[in-house]
Amino acid sequence: MTLSKQLDKLLMRAEKPGRYIGGELHTEKKNPAAISTRFGFAFPDTYEIGMSYLGLQIIYHILNKMESVYCERVFAPANDMENLMRKESLPLFTLETKSPVKDLDILGFTLQYELSFSNILNMLNLGGIPYRSAERDASFPFIAAGGPCAFNPEPLADIIDFFMIGDGEDILPQVCKAHDRWKESGKDKDEFLKSLIEINGIYVPKFYTPSYYEDGQLKAIKKNYDKAPDRIEKQIVENLNQAEFPQKTIVPLIETVHDRAVVEVFRGCTRGCRFCQAGMIYRPVRERSKETIKQIAARQLEETGHDELSILSLSTSDHSEIEPLVEELMSVCKDNNVSLSLPSLRLDSFSFKVLQEIQGYKKSGLTFAPEAGTQRLRNVINKTITDADIYHGIEKAIELGWTNIKLYFMLGLPTETFEDLDGIVEIAKNITDINYRITGKRGRFNITVSVSSFVPKAHTPFQWHPQDTADVFLEKQLYLKDKLKKIKGVSYNYHGTDSSYLEAVFARGDRRLSEVLIKAVTLGCKFDSWREHLKYDLWMQAFRETGIDPNFYAHRERTYDMVLPWDIIDSGVTKEFLISENNKAIQETQSPDCRLHCIGCGINQKAECTMGERYEE
């Protein structure tokens, strides 16, 4: 029986079978027999989440433009479908041709969040592919990975054959071309990996051996193959404006998380928040021009028929032409019954004008993220928003009729004290007072305070800091709960810290964690980022049985002289810069936005940075 026929029998029983059928608008049909590199783009989560990820659309488009390559998509089946597949011995398959993933040449996983790692292993297992790189002979596809979590690749080092570090637009075609050549040469598996290291941004873990001190500290990661680079520089697409961007994006047949046309307006961020990994690893800032964005947006809407358009970046308000861009896009949207959605806006007067226009009288909640409750702590994390900014923005929002305000804060930031928590309470209290002053009423106004648990990340100025322990987090959460419940109209959200703890372990983990991952997946861990699926007890069992202490990774204070597992990856931002930023944090001093004053992160040594002091000219 063919896989397609077998699948058909399962679809009648599966929940949301539309996840598994493929055949969406703008998907690619090619004859696999005429292809030299069959690439599987694997997203280690369900279809609805994976299809909302813009990077998939970009890579799919770029790879399928190549004649010798066929890029197909692979997602993690939901639990009900996985059970059916295992029962009927149906292996993990690609959506396009319903081929077993084992038949592909390269299976590439995107690493968007640490808690998806277990799904990668589970997907390999569902595909009949051994977990460990060392256990896979030439009959198996190469297993690759890229994306933000590849900036600390070590926890997956025993599993993944090669990592692609940095922007994917150029590196993926380079890898596929190298594969074409290798396949034609008929040489063995290792020769392909050896040929890959000539490509900028490729990390092949088997060419490096870590060593440890007796106390468990990492001593060094030494290469065991001469030609491998000492450090892996991330690959950078210098000119984003000319980079490929899909216009015929795949349009899912079923509803996904984000079901809309989307244009990435710039990559990188100039704000320099010290907790933010994305703000560090995506440097330098590279923009698409207003005209390019408009042209892509219009074509995409035409080709897809979407009724929502979103413009995406780490801080959309910072685009150099944001005001005319938004105004012009708004008029395009209005004419075509398309709604415009603008994530990550700042609360300045222009944003209000825009929000007023696109939301009209249908005011959904207004969300913003001061991240910390006091000016002192905001200086520490380099979040430049001031109390005055917050209150001014809120005042404006209330005057315009918003009655639902959401505030996001992080708990456990370095140097945090209970005074900083009091600051959160004070902000909430002051906002209710502002509302009373303006509207004369206390009712029908709601503030939601959401707190998350800080996870220190690799390649950020806070990479040396310990994460708060579960007890401390809980104490802080309850302290806030007690104080916030006394304020009328304030609701409070906080969550268990198990997932933040696991995230902290893997975000700064080393190669020894590969075994823990394998153990955890064997025990049944998967979908860890889904609160209802996380099996924390099994995770702890996996740590115990492999003899690895997770606290070593989450709670240890690191010193500047230590070798860190991700030191082999060069994000373009220098360690000296991260150290100086951390020192400034301890001194509670801000650094300016780099458009005001270049702060010397080092990225301009690797690529042209057009942002430095742009406002001073």
Partner: protein
């Protein structure tokens, strides 16, 4: 003068695994891509004037579904059918398009019956005389099923026999084929699932629902 149209279309293959709402969204996007501007409702949350005659359950195929809609401009029915057809994904196709009179009720309100074809794979060894089977099934005074009421959630017993307008059975290879014309629409509606379960229960035929194929073959409207 409104520009009201209806298209008749089929749904088959893997696309039968997308829901009624997903299909509605698909048509909405297809109209946009085709450059056919739909009329939008007024009010807080404008939505295009477009609806199906009858929702089709997930997993069912159909050789005759109807979608009605209102456009801003006037088109020839051929142009609409052609434009939509060129943009339909595999498994969906427009069979015809016609104009609807201004004042007529919606197709959903006029739907009164539908034909279904139910294909039940059975054991080869199963020996039954079709005609006897059917005669006995349909000659029951009442065909009773327990149905949960939407509002109260209580289960009540109902007699579905009056809602079965006609039924025939045929043995084809290792399948039993039921063809039935059932009440459909907002006044009274009978799901073919209930015919399937009561028939198989009555005749003591064991089957696996996942292998049963149900196809809607026609929808009938009040003239």
């Amino acid at each position: 003068m409104k520009n009201r149209y209806a298209v008749r279309f089929y749904k088959d293959g893997n696309i039968r695994y997308i829901s009624h709402l997903d299909l509605l969204r698909l048509f909405k996007r297809t109209f946009k891509r085709a450059g056919i501007r739909l009329q939008y409702s007024q009010g807080f949350n404008p939505h295009p004037k477009m609806s199906f005659a009858q929702p089709l359950s997930l997993g069912y195929s159909s050789s005759s579904e109807y979608l009605e809609f209102e456009t801003q401009n006037t088109y020839s029915t051929d142009v609409i059918a052609e434009k939509l057809n060129s943009l339909m994904p595999e498994g969906l196709g427009i069979l015809s398009c016609e104009e609807l009179p201004d004042k007529e009720k919606s197709l959903a309100a006029m739907t009164e019956a539908a034909d279904y074809e139910i294909t039940i794979p059975v054991d080869d060894s199963l020996e039954i005389e079709n005609t006897d089977l059917l005669r006995e099934y349909i000659s029951q005074d009442q065909i009773k099923v327990m149905k949960r009421q939407k509002k109260s959630g209580r289960k009540i017993e109902i007699n579905i026999k009056p809602l079965i307008y006609s039924i025939s059975v045929d043995r084809r290879g290792n399948c039993i084929m039921l063809e039935a014309k059932l009440a459909a629409g907002s006044v009274s509606n009978l799901s073919p699932e209930l015919v399937l379960t009561t028939f198989c229960e009555f005749t003591d035929i064991s089957y696996d629902r996942a292998t049963v194929a149900i196809k809607r073959k026609e929808i009938y409207f009040i003239k």
